[in-house]
């Protein structure tokens, strides 16, 4: 089995990207249009896909132009061994290959309860315990082995998290067991810390940030139900301060970071430009080599 170091060395640095999903151009930002208008801000496209809907014209046009894509799955329960069937593996591999995706990624936990069937869709975090982390790691090893692609598990958003582990400790265990990279969603982590009444950077000092290959940033909204306050993963244009704090702490320490996605596809393009510019200044698409001054 290839080691994480071996795998990550072969991954391209993608820079800052835009997220999208099936038919998003009709409802939000058309990635191709955005790339054409703001080539210096958008460097790759992260396409959210499930087998039921497959690829859309937007991602096909993007890929046909030879631009980089990542494949974000929306339909597999990494935490549930029985969900990882042959059909999902072969079809996902086929779709990802069709757009020449650089890697696979997606929220680790559950995208549906029970069967992968209409009406069962519901994004849920994993139960944060060792047993679940081991099962998730097993799924990632199998996906990487059967697709030949890197698979990055992402920390999901939720209002309710159960389990005795901190979510970062859970993903550190997954990464260690599967010897894989991870996708750190800064907005989701901010949500988790809030649910546990922890400061934004809690547990990051013990987290192996060298495993972080991709990061996500998105807007959130403070909400409440009957006086109970929580953060909604709203994907609005403005990330919360805690999200920025996590991102700015993690980026300089994530030596294998290859990509940052701003999840904002349902907003008006002009509302997102400032954030894209800020992300590009934090994480430029190309590393510039500076000549040392003559001695």
């Amino acid at each position: 089995m290839a080691t994480f170091s071996w795998k990550v060395e072969r991954l391209p640095r993608l820079g800052v990207g835009l997220s999208g999903e099936f038919d998003i151009a009709a409802k939000g930002i058309d990635a191709c249009w955005m790339k054409e208008r703001y080539p210096e801000l958008i460097h790759f496209y992260e396409y959210g896909a499930d087998l039921e809907r497959g690829l859309d014209d937007g991602v096909r046009r993007w890929a046909a132009a030879g631009l980089p894509v990542t494949y974000h799955f929306l339909d597999i329960n990494l935490e549930e061994r029985v969900d990882l069937d042959h059909h999902w593996l072969t079809q996902t591999k086929e779709l990802a290959a069709e757009i020449n995706a650089s890697w696979l990624c997606g929220d680790a936990g559950r995208w549906h309860f029970g069967l992968r069937e209409r009406g069962h869709g519901m994004l849920m975090p994993p139960i944060l315990c060792r047993e679940s982390a081991l099962e998730t790691a097993e799924s990632i090893v199998r996906i990487e082995s059967e697709t030949g692609m890197v698979c990055l598990p992402e920390n999901p958003p939720a209002v309710i998290y159960l389990g005795d582990l901190h979510i970062l400790d859970y993903f550190a265990l997954v990464a260690e067991q599967a010897d894989c990279g991870v996708l750190l969603d800064c907005a989701h982590l901010a949500i988790f810390q809030q649910t546990r009444n922890l400061p934004p950077l809690a547990a990051l000092d013990n987290f192996p940030l060298d495993r972080v290959v991709e990061m996500h940033v998105a807007g959130g909204a403070h909400a409440e139900v009957d006086g109970y306050a929580y953060i909604e993963d709203s994907h609005s244009p403005e990330p919360l301060p805690a999200t920025w704090e996590i991102l700015e702490y993690a980026v300089p320490r994530a030596k294998n970071l290859k990509a940052i996605v701003f999840e904002c596809e349902r907003n008006a393009p002009e509302e997102t430009l400032e954030i894209f510019a800020r992300l590009n200044s934090i994480f430029p698409a190309k590393v510039e080599l500076k000549a040392e001054s003559a001695q």
Partner: protein, 288 residues
């Protein structure tokens, strides 16, 4: 216990506020069968109970998907009960909870809930049971097809041994219904089409109402074959003799044994052979 058990419990609590109240009020009794450790139970109960109802539209979103598959049954039920709660009750029912616990299909559990409503007298329109059974048959075929894939009938051999075993191909089913079931469906679809022209008209006193459903005629039967079509599952009328033979092939059966069940009348026995050959040829039956 495993994290899988806990996840199922989370789903049930996210959908069912009454269940949440029961869990918090009497955890030992409500969670007894789930074998939670003390620590897990403590962790669960430490969640602020208001957090479980943060997504106020979860039931409605899910109900929309269910109603898409059972649109005729649910329309007749809503016309009769005038109560959305009558359908939302599904999420507090044993059918929903069991489907989550057993990792089964929620759509098919919804069909069970609707049929149980007929048995319990929650809805009384005589057309409902057969319409539910028909929509459930389509839902079941759709799932079998998705699970097992389309069966491509090859060239039928000139002779087939009577020791060969046959069964309905994936996505096929047969069932008998009261004679006016198709007319009932057409009437409801016509009403829904009219309403779709301007959904807000449902708020008006003079809005179109669902009325004039064909009488449920239990004395006469119609026999239907469900099978993969160009746009999902299609429905075809069957002769009674075809229905009787195909009904026996819902489960894998030896041709010889199948023919013997129809040998009391020679004509029927010969006809059974023809029926099997015909449906093998067009792919509704397959040799196992």
């Amino acid at each position: 216990m495993s994290h899988h058990t806990l996840q199922k419990l989370v789903v049930r609590m996210l959908f069912d506020e009454e269940f949440v109240e029961e869990v918090y009020a009497a955890p030992d009794r409500t969670l007894a069968r789930l074998d939670l450790t003390e620590a897990e139970q403590r962790q669960l109960l430490s969640i602020d109970r208001r957090a479980w109802r943060h997504d106020t539209l979860r039931r409605r979103r899910t109900l929309r998907t269910l109603v898409e598959e059972f649109k005729v049954s649910t329309t007749i039920i809503l016309a009769e009960t005038r109560s959305l709660a009558s359908l939302e009750g599904f999420f507090s029912s044993q059918f929903f909870h069991r489907s989550v616990q057993e990792r089964a299909s929620m759509g098919l559990a919804f069909a069970e809930f609707l049929l149980d409503g007929c048995r319990q007298g929650m809805w009384k329109a005589p057309q409902i049971p057969d319409v539910v059974r028909l929509e459930a048959a389509i839902a079941e075929c759709r799932r079998t097809l998705a699970r097992e894939g389309n069966y491509e009938a090859g060239e039928t051999p000139a002779t087939i041994s009577d020791r060969a075993r046959v069964k309905l191909a994936p996505g096929y089913d047969v069932a008998g219904f009261q004679a006016n079931v198709i007319e009932t469906i057409q009437r409801v679809e016509q009403y829904l089409f009219e309403l779709s022209l301007m959904p807000a008209m449902a708020l008006c006193d003079d809005a179109p109402r669902l009325s004039g459903l064909p009488e449920a005629d239990q004395q006469k039967k119609v026999y239907l074959l469900f099978g993969p079509g160009a746009a999902g599952i299609s429905i075809t009328n069957l002769e009674k003799s075809d229905f009787l033979v195909l009904y026996e092939t819902k489960r894998e059966v030896e041709i010889k044994s199948l023919l013997s069940r129809f040998e009391t009348a020679r004509v029927r026995a010969r006809r059974a052979q023809d029926i099997i050959a015909e449906w093998l040829e067009n792919g509704a039956l397959m040799i196992v």
